[in-house]
């Protein structure tokens, strides 16, 4: 074996090589020698990497066995046959024992991070929520409705009350209830909360030919005021920014008076979904307090690692946080009496205001103030200043302080308050709530059991669900669905409302897998049911469903397998008029299997379908990626992506493409070199659901999204430990979150300086 290798290698390395070889023939070379001769050129003499060759340092990423296999089969990259068998074993041993150990010090560390954009917004909402009052919705849905006999809302005119699932009525020239109300004039008031699932600008539209006013979030100031009807305009609009996962005050007043007909609908256009009647699941009865929503924009965070992180600051960010602090300060000053629980003429008003300042800073800093902080943050500004100026400056100093902006800064030690701060940031992107603050104050966040118990409590909070959902949206590249359009001739009926419903369908599925009674990660890949409503059942030709509410429908397990074949994802990973096996394959390789893909060596634009209209998509992609230089990655990408060829550019199942039977066979070869073949998407799903590579990749991505730090900064074996326990728990997601959160919150960050 050794001899043969050298014979092949000899002509390639020329004279110098042959001298070395003569020596080697007598005595086998050490792993280090082989490394220096064959590997150092690209990986550097110390495994530090070589610019323009392989620039990444060699770090502990593989087991010894894996290393052996990789070196044996693929290294050196230009002549994989030059180092095999015993040579490969020795190099692997050397890399494992020496290079890895040396490079362990290059391991990523937990970096000091400022609040991300999302964390800043949620933190100020909850900070002020502590004074404004906060309430989360229960399981009831719809709005409380009060029907009045006249066009005013006087209590004595109340005819009856009920709950309406949504607001979408056409009374024509009739009464809402002829037995209790006349048809000439009447009024209705709907009240409750509206649940926002996305962050961004919402447009609310009241559609009516009668009079109306709508309040959203702010009970004082109507968002839409069309109590005077004027012209033929039936759509009355108002825009407002809302942040995801929260419920906002809503009141709609509507009346008929002197009009021939009556109808009313409450619609919205959310940041990412088409205009539609606000669905029942986004409405809840009850009364909700005002919720402060930050309007100031921030520059987007760096998310190049797959999660938003705040490890860098810039002049733009600094200006943005100053503006945000000004915005909050303006609000606090203008609502100070309400927040401080006092009145303009109260004798102790100034003292109450000052007390509000202490409490504000304490919540913002996530720990009690020491004497110095009380003096610097609050007292100093109250000397000889009017209360407005004093209050404004206190709020500004508090929010611009590193103690607020860098949540892990704490007191410099990892104490109970630090643990509380970390838990709230990682699970909620926000500040500790009262229960957490209390636990920290009582010294009850020290042991793993104590912290795990807190995490389990916090998992029930809607903010956790919002964060986990946003993780899924990042993991599944949902941003690809933004502003999507499809060839209208080829996909008639595929309109923005179908896209909106697809998003909802996927969200319902993700929530169920994560939080349902039988949370099991594998179901993400295996489930053979889909959430469908009337519109989707029609478009995707399943058994008919009545009404816009979603129902879980069993589908053919040959045709569907969890997220992999979910029409939402299949549509996102496709082109204007064709499927895209490459996008699908890259998603499977990178996101699901956690594989690193090398960069494409040459720039290629997809061949247009028109060039050879008879080719199937599979044939087109195969032909374009056939050069050997492409195949090193596309061998894997295509073979994975092709298994999803049974789903067209809008995610419909198909057996034929261009009149020919779709070939959805594919294969996958693990890092360790084991190859598996698949007949279709279902077989792929079965394989992935049981693949340790997939479990590990999922755990890593979930950890990093939640904690916003690299997982190996928490220990070389950390990822393996999490993955093992995840496997033992039968892949339940909530215990995995408990594990991740407990370990990361209690972690003692190294403070040593590494030069």
């Amino acid at each position: 074996m050794l001899k043969k290798t050298h014979l092949v290698y000899l002509p390639l390395i020329g004279v110098l090589g042959s001298v070395a070889m003569l020596h080697a023939a007598d005595q086998p070379k050490s792993g280090e020698q082989i490394y220096q001769e064959q590997c150092a050129r690209c990986h550097g003499a110390q495994g530090e990497g070589v610019k323009e060759e392989y620039s990444q340092p060699l770090q502990r990423r593989h087991s010894l066995d894996e290393l052996r296999k990789i070196i044996d089969e693929t290294m050196p990259a230009d002549h994989p046959e030059a180092c095999v068998g015993e040579d490969a074993n020795r190099v692997a041993q050397f890399v494992f024992d020496t290079i890895y150990v040396r490079n362990d010090s290059l391991r990523p560390r937990v970096e000091l991070s400022r609040l991300t954009v999302r964390q800043y917004a949620n933190s100020v909402t909850d900070l002020l929520g502590g004074f404004l009052g906060q309430k989360w919705p229960d399981d009831k849905r719809g709005l409380q409705a009060r029907y009045f006999k006249e066009h005013g809302f006087g209590g004595d005119k109340l005819a009856f009350e009920r709950t309406d699932a949504k607001v979408e009525f056409d009374f024509a020239d009739k009464s809402p209830d002829p037995e209790k109300i006349g048809s000439e004039e009447f009024a209705i008031r709907w009240q409750g909360g509206v649940i926002a699932e996305e962050t961004g600008e919402y447009e609310f539209i009241v559609r009516t030919e009668n009079g109306t006013r709508l309040w959203v979030n702010d009970p004082e100031k109507p968002l839409v005021d069309a109590s005077v009807r004027s012209g033929d305009e039936k759509d009355h609009r108002g825009s407002i920014r809302l942040i995801a996962g929260r419920v906002y005050y809503l009141r709609l007043e509507y009346f008929k008076f002197k009009d021939k007909t009556a109808s009313v609908a409450l619609e919205w256009q959310t940041p990412r979904r088409a205009r539609q009647t606000i669905p029942e699941r986004n409405l809840t009865p009850g009364r909700f307090p005002y919720c402060f929503v930050l309007q100031s924009p921030f520059p987007p965070d760096d998310s190049s690692m797959g999660y938003e992180r705040g490890t860098a600051v810039s002049a733009e960010w600094n200006a943005a946080q100053a503006k945000a602090a000004l915005e909050v300060a303006r609000f606090v000053v203008s609502s100070a009496d309400r927040l401080a629980g006092t009145k303009e003429d109260a004798p102790d008003r100034a003292a109450r205001w000052k007390d509000l300042c202490y409490r504000f800073a304490e919540r913002a800093f996530r720990r009690p103030l020491d004497a110095e902080q009380r003096a610097a943050c609050v007292d100093r500004h109250w000397e000889g200043k009017d209360p407005q100026t004093a209050m404004r400056n206190t709020i500004l100093v508090t929010l611009m302080s590193p103690q607020f902006l860098y949540p892990d800064l704490g007191s410099g030690e990892c104490d109970d308050f630090t643990v509380a701060a970390r838990l709230a940031i990682a699970l909620w992107d926000s500040l500790p709530d009262d229960a957490l603050r209390e636990a920290a104050a009582n010294g009850q966040l020290r042991s793993e059991d104590q912290v795990s118990a807190q995490v389990r409590r916090m998992l029930q909070d809607p903010r956790t669900k919002t964060k986990v959902r946003s993780f899924f949206h990042k993991w599944l590249p949902m941003e690809r669905l933004a502003d999507i359009s499809r060839d209208k001739e080829r996909f008639p009926g595929f309109d923005p409302l179908v896209v909106a419903d697809l998003r909802t369908s996927l969200d319902l599925f993700l929530d169920e897998v994560a939080w349902g009674g039988h949370s099991d990660f594998r179901q993400l890949l295996l489930a053979d049911d889909l959430f469908l409503n009337d519109r989707l059942s029609k478009f995707y030709a399943s058994e008919p469903i009545n009404g816009p509410a979603f129902q879980k429908v069993k589908v053919s397990s040959v045709q569907r397998a969890g997220i992999l074949t979910h029409p939402c994802l299949m549509t996102g990973l496709a082109y204007y008029n064709a499927s895209s096996p490459i996008h699908r394959g890259v998603f499977l390789a990178r996101s699901v299997l956690g594989r690193t893909l090398k960069a494409p060596p040459i720039a290629v634009s997809p061949i247009d379908e028109g060039v050879n209209p008879d080719m199937t998509t599979r044939e087109r992609v195969s032909s374009q990626t056939s050069p050997p230089v492409c195949q090193s990655c596309h061998g894997m990408i295509n073979a994975l992506g092709f298994t999803l060829e049974s789903y067209d550019a809008v995610g419909r199942f198909r057996e034929l493409e261009k009149g020919r039977k779709v070939d959805a066979t594919g294969s996958y070869r693990t890092l360790a070199g084991e190859e598996t073949r698949f007949e279709n998407a279902r077989q792929l799903a079965e394989y992935l659901a049981n693949s340790p590579e997939v479990h590990r990749a999922f755990v890593q991505q979930l950890f990093q999204y939640m904690v916003a730090q690299p997982v190996n900064a928490y220990g070389v074996d950390r990822l393996d430990q999490f993955t093992d326990r995840f496997t033992q728990s039968q892949f339940q997601i909530p215990p995995l979150l408990v594990d991740i959160l407990t370990v990361s919150a209690l972690h003692k960050h190294s403070k040593e300086n590494s030069s």
Binding site: K51, S55, E111, L112, R114, E201, S239, P297, P299, P300, D301, D302, S303, S304, M305, T311, V313, S314, A315, E316, N318, A319, A322, K323, L326, A376, R380, R392, N393, L396, V397, M400, S401, P402, Q403, Y406, L409, S411, G412, D483, S485, K488, Y575, Y576, A599, P600, P601, I602, A603, V604, S605, P606, D608, G610, V611, S750, K751, E752, N753, S754
Partner: protein
Amino acid sequence: MNTAKSRREFLRDLGISAAAIPFVLNLPSIALAEAAPRKQRLVIMFSPNGIVPPNFWPDETGEAFKLKDILTPLAPYRSRMLMLQGISNKVRGDGDNHMRGMGCLLTGIELFPGNVQGGSHTPAGWASGLSIDQEIARFLQSRPDKQTRFGSLEFGIGVPDRADPWTRLVYAGPNKPVAPEMDPYQMLAKLYGQAQDGESLRSVLDEVRSDLEKVRGKISAEDRRVLEEHETFVRAMEQDLQRDAQTPQPARPPEIEAGVKNNNDNLPKLSQMQIDLLVHSFVADFARVATLQITNSVGNAHMRWLGIEEGHHELSHHPDSQTESQEKLVKINRWYCEQLAYLAKRLQETPDPSGSGTLLDNTTIVWTNELGKGNSHTLDNIPFVLVGNGLGFRMGRAEKYDNVPHNRLLIAMAHAMGHPIETFGNRELSKDGPLSGLT
């Protein structure tokens, strides 16, 4: 000249910036203009995904050139425009052509290696140097007689809300991309923001700074770097506010339409609003350098207002043989050209407040792109169309160069703005000095 100069120095000693002088002296600005050199201004406008060469480049060179259909909106400015063909972005290194086309366009220097992967080639990070607009702005700010409140302004139109090498054109330094302001309302607030806010901030910043200093001691050396950087931004903010407080606002804020949302279908409206604000900021002498970034590299605007459903980037990949797509691309590029024409028109009809002619007489707009051509992804023949007389180039002609590095044009722009730098960006590519034949 002498009188004007000594007056300026006197006022500066009192802490009043040059921009405010005409107002303080309560003089008609014309009185100063006779003595002062003209105020040169530069706007760089970007649109993405390459152009359609046969419908863009003229067949003739020299003064006899004819406008191809993409450029027809510039007909009224034909005698004041200059088309430069044969200028190539020769910067190589990491990043795919879209990334380098963008990140090296105004910087003329390689991207750092990084972890952002394009559609091909190696992954890359941000550009490793500052962009020419920032270089020029920095020079102007270093000269008391050329100083303005902002130095430069960065306008964006339809730039997606994410930071990556495809969305960032302007760099304040290596690894320092500058986010363009996409929201006209925020830009309005920046230009004419409330003095009260500045006053409040000014009263707390020294405390914020000492707070940052205090916590630095508690953390590791690597982490300290972030806080130190944070502190320098706080200090810079203090200085800006100081300057601000001393500058009376010389122009009334413009009226802009309320409630226009930042979305794809509003691009025409947003573009007009941003251009109007840009012109206002020149009138007020808030800055003499501006960038106007329409979407981003690989920008995928859906120009439904032109009856085009597909995204621009998607279409730009279609082959030359697909005439229908090419016609759409011509329309799309003509729309970008219309934005340029609107800016030129607004500058042309606005008298220069310093007294000499119109703003267009003292402003040059440079329209450029990250690629030469969309479906080939070439960085050769990058479009450069100049309009207006700010740089003092000889206008009214089309010039053809023989594949010269674009660094030389960047250098020539700095020279024309009175800043004679020897090289810019990559040294090797700059070695032949400023591009010749421009004046």
